[in-house]
Symmetry: C2
Subunit: 185 residues, 2 copies
């Protein structure tokens, strides 16, 4: 099935997460509309709606890191924040901050021909690390430690991250919906 | 003429800037599309294009503070950054940073019936203050000192800010275009 994304890392993660369900992910090059919104769900839904080819099964995904002490920053603008102030900038903002709790959220918007858009969400609670750790993954992975672990996402292998990540949760929900739905037909 | 905005402060500033040109600004409540983009011009243009009532003269405006040492952050996402990490957050990011230069940019997209969208830009260079100063204005005004002044935008009266601001420059260009264009007809 098709994944409309400009992000190589996301494509690789989605392939790894969906392969056990027998779903092969193919990248689709389509322009999509990305709106400014505090809601990842709204961003993903409008992006999916903006893609003209409604006759094929495809999905888009939007994700963000929401840090409690920073009122949800960087949230939906995580990729812009990553490429401007970077990991160092976020750690500087968190310097001396006691409440380091954060949530990584993922929203998948799936286009089902003749049905419409279905939304699947995933989130992982965790904390912001004191320093940059690990080389795997991408984006804010080197500073996010999921609850129940003492390693950052970037210190996990792709296989390990794909078992617990926000993106694994949203995409697994999508896979299960697709499977149960195809059995009904 | 009509200004499509959800920002009371911008409405007041635009009124003050355009009054000397005999232009009365009226707020128009229309939903507009705000896309994610590194370009203010693209954001303003798409917002203007998204408004259905193309039969009336209206404008939209988008602005942002671009800090050099932070690779342009907060840029097009200034209002989101303001409401999450705030002035204190930006000052914390700038702690110990020597290069404090920044630019405030404004882009106006004017819809002219039967003509299309015209773009007018304005920018003011300056520096980021060491601390929060002044009570006038809004947004990042209390930490921005325009070149040639020793006061922040928030330490200036609205009248003073409206003589030198990025928004004054873009809106004045629009006013002059409107006047010279109406004389030709």
């Amino acid at each position: 099935m098709y994944f409309v994304t400009g992000n190589e890392h996301k494509l690789r993660e989605a392939s790894g997460i969906l392969a056990p369900y027998g779903i092969r992910v193919v990248r689709l090059y389509e322009r999509k509309l990305e709106v400014q919104s505090d809601s990842l769900e709204e961003i993903a839904r409008i992006a999916a709606e903006s893609i003209e080819r409604k006759d094929i099964l495809f999905f888009v995904e939007d994700a963000g890191l929401f840090i409690r002490a920073l009122n949800g920053f960087p949230g939906p603008y995580s990729s812009y924040v990553y490429k401007t102030i970077g990991l160092e900038g976020v750690l500087k903002l968190m310097k001396g901050v006691t409440d380091r709790s954060a949530v990584f959220r993922s929203v998948v918007a799936l286009n089902v021909p003749r049905v419409g858009i279905k939304i699947f969400t995933g989130e992982v609670h965790g904390t912001i690390a004191e320093d940059i750790r690990g080389t795997h993954g991408f984006g804010f992975d080197p500073i996010f430690i999921p609850s129940g672990s003492n390693r950052t996402f970037a210190e996990m292998t792709p296989y390990e991250k794909n078992k617990v990540s926000h993106r694994a949760i949203s995409l697994t929900k999508m896979a299960e919906w697709l499977i149960s739905n195809s059995q009904q037909q």
